[in-house]
Amino acid sequence: MRVRRLPLILSGLVAAGLAVSGCVAPGTPGAAQTAAAADDFNDPYEDTNRGIFNFNQAVDEDVLVPVAKTYRTVVPPPMQQSLHDFLQNLDGPIIFANDLLQGEVGLAGNTLARLLVNTTIGVGGMFDVAKLMGIPYHTNDLGITFAVWGFRAGPYVVVPVLGPSNPRDLVGQVGDGFGDPGNYVASTLHHYLWAVVARTAVAGIDERSRNIETLADIERTALDNYATIRSLSRQRREAQIRHEQSNLPNPAPVQ
């Protein structure tokens, strides 16, 4: 019962969030009379964001990186690859749905073909056979769909643990979570929320283990790591919205 009520509450949140992010349109003079920094970087809550960013860096250093490093040393590389492919395949239905919502028929075809091939020949998604057949992976999500539909991102927000985001993408993530059949399948075995948390955690470790060196190199060489990550994540997201394949490492540890 609790499981069924939760989506309802959250879909209310989704609607509210969309209303908010829709309102944060530029070109409403007077509303955007903020400091130069907020104008340039769309970051009106910069002080708070920097605080959360520092917290996230500490969590990253103390928890995520050690876990990711252990994962990389303990788990044999072929198994890491299989887990990565499996997680990617699990995202297939949501990617497919968003391809369709955006009217990207070609991309939708690719995703469907990948899903069919990898789930069957690829043994439940553990092997990316479709890639070998020349059907490349692409990402998609509800945040991108909202952007394609013309919703604005809203202000830059750093979310505890999850990292750089904005209202549009946060609402999208919640929507994707509830639309994802994989989560419902998992919820027959365990509590819904635990299934989602476990999947996010495993995906986070997978993602982080692939980016340890890159992010460390950026942090070490940057004058202002916060500003660099803010710029990288915004541009990376814009490239995804244009459907250019952006395979840069994700500056957000978990998302």
């Binding site: 920094a37 690859q81 202002d224 660099t228 710029s231």
Partner: protein, 198 residues
Amino acid sequence: MIRIGAALGALLVIVLALAAPREADAQDARAFVATLGQEAIQVLGPGVPVAQRQARFRELFRDDFDLAGIGQFVLGRYWRVATPQEQQDFLGLFQEYLVRAYSARLGEYGGEPFRVTGVRPNGDESIVNSEIIRPNSSPIAVDWYLIGRGPYKITDVYVGGVSMKVTQRDEFASVIQRNGGRVEALITQLRQKLGVAG
């Protein structure tokens, strides 16, 4: 009739004359990036000592990048605010910052296969598309923006859809803004980061 034929012939000659060097340019631009990318990736490869890697990157930025133009873009509206001395100091430090930062940041792509995939004109510039192929991940698209012909100069590099020039501008603008709009503060921080005496 003959006159029309002659006119058409002349037109054809003109069109060909105009088109031929363009085609040659495109080929040159491809070759330029292919050579440069190959070298950069080789020098990034595992087992190349840091000093050697940085020395090669220093040469590469000096010879093949439009450093003055990039530096000016990266300072943005603060370029005009800066004194000539500050501009000069900044350009010098910026080059060294690029060498240190990018020889480290691009390290993970070292030794991976690299290939040029296309070229297209973009106003005065040419954009050369390339990709780095990684065994266990999707390839990374690297787009090179070139000006000039003959000696090309790189004005920007997009890695995975992300402009290196814009990233740098955003970072430096943030540093300047958080220090009361003083370009001098950025120069001081660059000096500290690079361990260079003022």
